[in-house]
């Protein structure tokens, strides 16, 4: 490979030509991009606000449900467990929204990249914990739904064996979900969102994010 300074001179020659042979598409910017950019930002903010409002509504409803069924201990505890999970999801969402709002892309690259990656890590952890608790808490969710929709207390009508079997089903479902994600996550090329979800669950994306943050820190501190 040639000397970097020689290549730099060639680069500068090519760079000088770029000004002449490139044209900024002002028509495109005026007609579409600039207005779209603002509306896209607004849409994202509105979507995040709706999502947070949705979680808040569930948290409030579950809290009220648990309180109003305190005499049915199983149902009340199930609702309380589900409520704790939803509070966790709401807090994580608010932290992500606040983190996104704080990011200013005009700040130095190493600092912003760490912030962006830390937000990604928060998203991955939220997904992992959400799916983990969602599957493990399968039985409590079922108990709350049965009581709310049909007025049936599953803990009273179901046999202990059925309850244990369903409790175990939640744990097995979680384990199978993790195994399938690890085994097939990277192969899901045709469904990118599914691939991302599975790689989040498998921990692949988490490990990559940790490596990247470590890389940025090393880039910042590296000296002679």
């Amino acid at each position: 490979m040639a000397n970097l300074d020689e290549l730099k001179a060639k680069w500068e020659e090519h760079d000088a030509m770029l000004s002449e042979c490139l044209r900024l598409n002002r028509e495109l910017l005026t007609a579409m991009k600039l207005n779209d950019a603002e509306s896209a930002v607004r849409k994202t903010a509105v979507y995040a606000a709706f999502e947070a409002a949705g979680w808040l509504a569930i948290v409030v409803w579950l809290g009220g449900f648990a309180a109003s069924h305190f005499q049915q201990l199983g149902v009340a505890l199930s609702a309380a467990a589900a409520d704790v999970m939803c509070i966790g999801m709401l807090v994580a969402l608010i932290r992500r929204i606040a983190g996104s709002l704080r990011i200013d892309y005009g700040q130095p690259v190493s600092a912003i990249q760490k912030s962006v990656e830390e937000l990604r890590m928060l998203r991955i952890r939220t997904t992992q914990w959400g799916v983990l608790f969602g599957t493990v808490l399968w039985l409590p969710w079922l108990a709350v739904a049965a009581q709310a929709v049909f007025g049936v207390d599953v803990y009273k009508i179901a046999s202990p064996a059925w309850l244990v079997a369903n409790g175990l089903f939640g744990v097995v479902l979680m384990a199978v979900t993790m195994w399938v994600s690890k085994k097939y996550g990277e192969r899901m090329q045709s469904a990118p969102w599914m691939r991302r979800l599975m790689m989040d669950l498998a921990g692949t994306n988490w490990n990559a994010a940790v490596r990247f943050v470590e890389g940025v820190k090393e880039f910042e501190r590296e000296q002679a």
Binding site: L7, H14, D15, L18, L29, K33, A224
Partner: protein
């Protein structure tokens, strides 16, 4: 300042610095449709962040920061877009003649850049673009000594 004035000022500054957009996209994307997507994302982010731009700061420093931050995030993200051919009128930057196509030596240099990690790509691009160590340090958020060390290391590794 009205939104129209601000948009007009933004477009003028972007036009003066369009080469930065071109080179950042070429450093972080191998194929043309991805480059176009990245160019559009960078322009959108530049515009949405433009209100926070401090005119006492050099526009190029601020633009490098935004463009590189968006490019690195774009590069690290899973992309869901299907490949398609993009017509000229949909492109942010339009080549008015064939000279915009990098010559052989520059293409070879882009290949060297592609082999570097995301942050060292940014460092090399800033160096090739003629920025001094102080400017590079300001864009990347590292010390000037660190920049000098890394540039020397890159020079040595390229000699080998």
């Amino acid at each position: 300042m009205t939104t129209n004035d601000q948009a007009s000022r933004f477009q003028t500054l972007l036009d003066e610095h369009k080469r930065i957009l071109f080179k950042v996209c070429h450093c972080y994307c191998r194929n043309a449709p991805d480059r176009e997507d990245l160019a559009q994302e960078i322009v959108v982010q530049l515009w949405t962040s433009f209100g926070r731009y401090d005119p006492r700061q050099r526009f190029s420093t601020w633009m490098y920061r935004v463009a590189l931050n968006v490019a690195i995030s774009f590069y690290r993200r899973e992309r869901t877009r299907t490949r398609h051919v993009i017509a000229d009128e949909e492109k942010v930057l339009i080549a008015t003649d064939e000279s915009s196509r990098p010559p052989e030596e520059i293409r070879a240099l882009y290949e060297v850049i592609e082999r570097l990690d995301e942050l060292n790509r940014a460092l090399l691009l800033l160096y090739l673009d003629g920025n001094n160590y102080e400017e590079i340090a300001a864009v990347l958020g590292i010390s000037e000594t660190n920049v000098a060390t890394k540039i020397n290391r890159l020079k040595n590794s390229m000699r080998q």
